[in-house]
């Protein structure tokens, strides 16, 4: 089994950390193989941010995502740019708080109000990445929930473990909930 996951959005949303946690869960706790990589804007300032994780039962021969089994979009740009590079039977997970996409336009789309849930229910927009992580592992089974929990605890900033574990669980539940309207969530394009 091999899973190619791509987490995309804007700098500062924590995609890279989410990717690291996924890979760490696979490598350190599920005894699988994984590679994690990311791209930066020019000289690491601003702009788009992207993390990629390949998880496999065998050593990974090519470390980057070629066709994603799951694409997480936390910005409009991310969807526009990478939507096409997703496998036919893949999942395009949309943070409907940030991205305006008609879920009916593409059967692969799964829309969830990730950032809103983080901000409103968990009180901290900053844990949106871990909420997304919960959704992802639930949708893909790329890593075990147990491994994910351990990796979250090991990798988030000290003192935030509890909040993040809670976010992870909330994300897993969110995956199973019915989506609310993606359209209604999204504001203007906002931040550069």
């Amino acid at each position: 089994m091999q899973k190619q996951l791509r987490l995309a959005g804007t700098g500062g949303q924590g995609q890279v950390l989410a990717g690291i946690i996924l890979a760490d869960a696979a490598v350190a706790y599920d005894a699988k193989y994984a590679t994690q990589s990311q791209s930066y804007g020019p000289e690491s300032r601003g702009g788009a941010s992207r993390a990629e994780v390949v998880i496999s039962d065998e050593p990974v021969d090519y470390p980057k995502v070629i066709e994603a089994d799951l694409l997480l979009c936390m910005s409009q740009e991310a969807y526009d740019k990478y939507g096409a590079d997703t496998a036919d039977d893949g999942i395009i997970l949309i943070d409907s708080t940030l991205v305006q996409v008609n879920p009916n336009s593409d059967s692969r789309i799964v829309a969830r109000p990730i950032t809103r849930v983080a901000r409103e229910e968990l009180g901290r927009a900053i844990v949106a990445n871990v909420v997304a992580l919960g959704v992802i592992i639930e949708l893909t089974k790329a890593v075990s929930p147990e491994a994910a929990r351990k990796a979250v605890s090991a990798r988030v900033p000290p003192g935030t473990e509890e909040a993040n574990l809670q976010a992870l669980e909330r994300g897993r539940r969110l995956a199973r909930e019915n989506p609310d309207s993606a359209q209604s969530e999204c504001g203007a394009s906002g931040v550069t």
Partner: protein, 380 residues
């Protein structure tokens, strides 16, 4: 930290952890993308093991400080990327001539000049060999994965200490920033080589005498073996001597020691080369896409082999020639305009045509691209 015994780490992190295992206790650096994590991590890791980290005013200073520390008896490293690697060249030549062990990491980004700081490249391959003025001995290693980076870092220190030669560890942005699970070495079970100290009393000590191995014994400052180190040509006492005879024998020894100790640094990997009709000569991160492409080609019945270089310099000429025996074509995929290919062409002569698959747009190879290249050459 890990239940599987493997730890998820970045290539840059692997350099850090492996350097500590190898005995590195001094790092001098100046930040530059995409090598900066090496400095950042060592800033906290070195004090934890009683080592010393210093951020210098620039790369020239970092290179000099690392050499100074090594002369004081401490295994030392510095790390940088293209622009900084250019600046280190003068002092790198000093280390080569004075035979000071030191490891220089160059995490390659797209050049020339400031270029594309966050894009990967293998554009410094030839610079690693020829960047400083004058003929000089140097060893360069170029691992292809995070795990191999860990091993290559330890090996870089071992080579440097064993042969008293600066070793350049060439990563690229992909490997530097990629994370993989790495099986950590058990410090007890890893071979660690330390420079050989004086076997004689201070009064008999000749700091640049050939003891038969071509690698002189080395005393650290402060150990009682007072001696002189200079970047001028020098005789075995270490003092300047500009005579032709001394110059000749010094050059012969410092270049010859590399010829004499190939086994210490030569590191290549041949896979399915015996039967191969087309041979891929790979190195560094593109080897991963190449591996994937080769697997596919082999699955489709093509006789394709892989000769992978971890040691780039001195170039493993003989090993390549052996691996290529029988191949009707050689392909070299590189994230540059074909630098290593020049050397491969030279070694292959006209017997075997050499093709390059090249990229200098800041993007990495996809397996498909290399696969296409294989198909073309195979059928062409």
């Amino acid at each position: 930290m890990s239940e599987s015994g493997r730890r998820l780490m970045q290539g840059n992190e692997a350099v850090v952890e492996a350097s500590l295992v190898a005995g590195c206790r001094f790092f001098a650096g100046y930040p530059i993308t995409p090598s900066t994590e090496i400095a950042e991590l060592l800033a906290s890791r070195l004090p934890q093991v009683g080592g010393r980290f210093i951020q210098m005013e620039d790369e020239i200073a970092s290179m000099g400080a690392a050499i100074g520390a090594s002369l004081a008896g401490t295994k030392a490293m510095t790390a940088t990327s293209g622009p900084g690697f250019s600046l280190k060249q003068e002092n790198l030549g000093f280390a080569a001539l004075t035979e000071v062990p030191v490891v220089v990491v160059d995490v390659q980004r797209m050049g020339p000049s400031t270029g594309m700081p966050t894009a990967p490249s293998q554009g410094d391959i030839m610079q690693a060999r020829w960047g400083t003025h004058g003929d000089h001995p140097i060893v360069a290693l170029c691992p292809a994965s995070v795990g191999e980076t860990y091993a290559a870092t330890i090996r870089a220190f071992n080579i440097s200490e064993a042969l008293r030669v600066p070793v350049v560890l060439l990563l690229d942005e992909v490997i530097g920033h990629m994370r993989e699970g790495v099986a950590m070495a058990d410090a007890q079970n890893v071979e660690i080589i330390d420079r050989k100290g004086p076997s004689v009393s201070p009064s008999e000590f000749l700091p640049y005498a050939d003891d038969g191995t071509m690698v002189p014994e080395m005393a650290a400052f402060g150990e009682g073996y007072r001696h002189h180190v200079t970047g001028l040509f020098h005789d075995e006492t270490g003092f300047p001597d500009m005579s032709a005879a001394v110059a000749k024998s010094l050059m012969q020894r410092i270049m010859g020691k590399l010829d004499a100790h190939r086994h210490v640094y030569e590191w290549t990997e041949a896979r399915d080369t015996e039967e191969a009709e087309v041979l891929l000569v790979t190195f560094g991160s593109p080897a991963q896409a190449a591996r994937s492409a080769i697997n596919r080609a082999q699955r489709e019945g093509m006789k394709v082999g892989e000769f992978r270089l971890i040691t780039l310099w001195p170039f493993p000429e003989k090993a390549l020639r052996e691996a290529a025996t029988g191949a009707r074509a050689v392909i070299v995929p590189e994230m540059n305009l074909g630098q290593l290919r020049l050397e491969v062409e030279r070694v292959m002569g006209c017997a075997t045509p050499v093709y390059g698959i090249n990229r200098t747009d800041g993007d990495i190879f996809k397996p498909d691209e290399i696969y296409q290249g294989i198909v073309e050459v195979y059928s062409g």
